[in-house]
């Protein structure tokens, strides 16, 4: 049985990675998870310079999920390259660096800096809803996405994954924009924008008022979008949104995802990715699938 998948020319040993921002750069989780067993590690978003992020409270629990408004706090690409990439290089897994920015120049600065680094792929976060900038709507407009993708592709030395926001009228338009710009893959979904009000304190649960909803509660929307995008583009899809067990991961794969990311579930059980990988293997055995790619998108 063949658990490996090929995403835009990069061979992962299995289809499971972690969702950006839920796993740091892997170091903290390495006490709980054997990183060698992951198909890839996707890092927290990194920008050209350090970002301080939002005021606290930055997270709130909601029924069946959570909301976050971390605000993309990150140490900047310099420290990241010095510390986090060497750490991950010690493991036999693929490295996907998630990139964020307020403006095209900021993304490009990071992508350029990554060109000489020993990483395997990069994931461009054009969708984080927590940064209060005019740039917010960027990932919500197909033309802008196409343009940014094309600019990035011009200088990127590694395959580029465009990470899509679900807060749009038609996700297929955005995915097609990414594909037209030359993206090697797309990943989805980022968080759904939500709000929680504390009725006793009569205020917002998050300092930022709104936050990104994630966890099991977003799965039906995420599966739908992965399915729609799979019908709309030819590039591979990394599916995510509420994956908490192997069954969830398989749902995304049958809907059209070539690989999956586990996010919020890591907070509930830090070793959940290991269970997801084992569970996919067990399902394949039981259902007579020889290779992960034989499952991708078979429900049409």
């Amino acid at each position: 049985m063949n658990m490996s998948v090929n995403i835009a020319g990069v061979e992962w040993k299995n289809p499971v990675t972690v969702a950006s921002g839920t796993f740091g750069s892997g170091e903290e989780f390495s006490e709980y998870v054997d990183l060698n067993k992951l198909g890839a590690v996707t890092t927290k978003g990194v920008a050209n310079v350090p970002w301080a992020g939002n005021p606290t409270p930055r997270v709130a629990e909601v029924y069946g999920g959570m909301m976050n408004a971390i605000g993309l706090q990150n140490p900047g690409i310099d420290l990241f390259c010095k510390r986090d990439i060497p750490f991950l290089k010690k493991y036999d897994t693929k490295i996907i660096v998630n990139v964020c920015g307020h403006a095209p120049e900021e993304y490009l600065a990071v992508v350029e800096r990554l060109a000489e680094e020993p990483i395997d792929m990069m994931e461009i976060n054009i969708s984080c809803p927590n940064v209060n900038a005019g740039f917010l709507a960027f990932g919500q407009d197909a033309r802008h996405v196409e343009e940014l993708t094309a600019q990035i592709k011009k200088i990127a030395k590694q395959p580029v994954i465009m990470k899509l926001t679900p807060n749009v009228t038609d996700i297929t338009e955005i995915a097609k924009g990414a594909e037209a710009g030359g993206a090697d893959a797309v990943s989805l979904i980022n968080t759904l924008t939500g709000m929680k009000i504390d009725i006793n304190r009569k205020t917002f649960a998050l300092a930022n008022k709104t936050g990104g909803v994630s966890g099991p509660i977003v799965k039906p929307v995420a599966v739908r979008m992965v399915y729609q995008v799979a019908q709309a583009v030819k590039i591979p899809i990394i599916g995510m949104g509420g994956i908490s067990c192997a069954e969830d991961a398989i749902e995304f794969i049958l809907a059209g995802a070539s690989a999956v990311s586990v996010g919020t579930a890591n907070f509930h059980n830090p070793a959940v990715t290991m269970e997801v990988i084992d569970g996919i293997e067990a399902y394949m055995k039981k259902n007579g699938f020889e290779s992960v790619k034989d499952m991708v998108g078979i429900v049409k």
């Binding site: 921002g21 839920t22 796993f23 740091g24 903290e28 989780f29 390495s30 006490e31 709980y32 998870v33 054997d34 990183l35 927290k44 350090p50 970002w51 301080a52 992020g53 606290t56 409270p57 930055r58 997270v59 709130a60 629990e61 029924y63 069946g64 999920g65 959570m66 976050n68 971390i70 706090q73 990150n74 140490p75 900047g76 420290l79 966890g215 099991p216 919020t264 579930a265 890591n266 907070f267 509930h268 059980n269 830090p270 070793a271």
Partner: protein, 262 residues
């Protein structure tokens, strides 16, 4: 590598020790062996709609029997802590830990020390008091009213001073009022409690040039330093974050008072 895990701990005993305050002993495989005072554990509910951990400080550590004592407050109806309060001996409870840095207990050696706890910040002071080896162990704990808890345990561990907001026991007021009333002196402070109390202690310590460690609280998602949910402002640019943010779950919860802004 990957030597830590979410343990399914067994409940040894549980008791309500004051209105809404529960005392829980759990049997752990490994957590108790590694634990230090001031560290905490993440407790998980069985309610499938509540996914985030509940961070609870370690109140006592029984290394011999591999047990932890946790004392917590039920914060309301339909909360995770309410679910915990229904746990019976033999029930299991998913736990991660020990987490965070803990109090630097060794720094107290030879010093006159204040061990200060307020409200639900009182419990972690107990293990600290028990492990501390110092010249003068002055335990100053504040409660809202006569519903005090862990008093006998504190009396056994050092000299106990109590404050209550309504004056029903000890000094009327907060822990700072107790210090002033009793004219207590220290070269070293360890404290845990609500932010206004910690703010007052921090100011007092800095004005009097006393080394002071405070244990902070913030909403958490991972509890292990990965998600950057639980930050506080740090005075210097933090080496990990590269900005002026420290992670309470990983770099804390205990900080030198001069390191952080609260």
């Amino acid at each position: 590598m990957s030597e830590k895990k979410r343990e399914n701990c067994t409940v040894v005993s549980q008791e309500c020790i004051a209105a809404g305050i529960y005392s829980l002993w759990i049997q752990t495989e490994k957590i108790a062996a590694d634990a230090k005072p001031g560290q905490f554990v993440s407790m998980y509910t069985k309610d499938k709609t509540k996914l985030l951990p509940r961070p609870i400080s370690i109140c006592e550590i029984d290394k011999e029997q591999g047990r932890l004592h946790l004392v917590y407050r039920v914060t309301g109806e339909n909360t995770g802590t309410e679910e915990f309060s229904r746990l019976q001996p033999g029930d299991t409870l998913p736990v991660i830990g020990p987490l965070g840095n803990g109090f630097p207990v060794e720094k107290a050696e030879g010093k006159r020390v204040f061990l200060m706890g307020g409200g639900i910040g009182v419990p972690p002071i107990l293990e600290l008091a028990k492990e501390m080896n110092c010249a003068e162990k002055q335990i100053v704990v504040g409660y809202r009213d006569c519903h005090t808890f862990l008093r006998e345990e504190f009396e056994a561990a050092g000299t106990l001073y109590i404050s209550t907001e309504d004056g029903s026991v000890g000094t009327k007021g907060n822990v700072m009022d107790a210090i002033r009333e009793k004219k207590l002196q220290a070269d070293m402070i360890y404290a845990c409690g609500p932010t206004p109390m910690l703010r007052a202690i921090k100011q007092y310590a800095e004005e009097n040039n006393i080394e002071c460690y405070i244990s902070l609280e913030e909403r958490m998602a991972c509890g292990i330093g990965a998600c950057l949910a639980c930050v506080c402002k740090s005075r210097e640019k933090d080496a990990h974050s590269n900005v002026n943010n420290k992670r309470i779950c990983k770099d804390g919860p205990v900080f030198l008072s001069t390191e952080v802004e609260i």
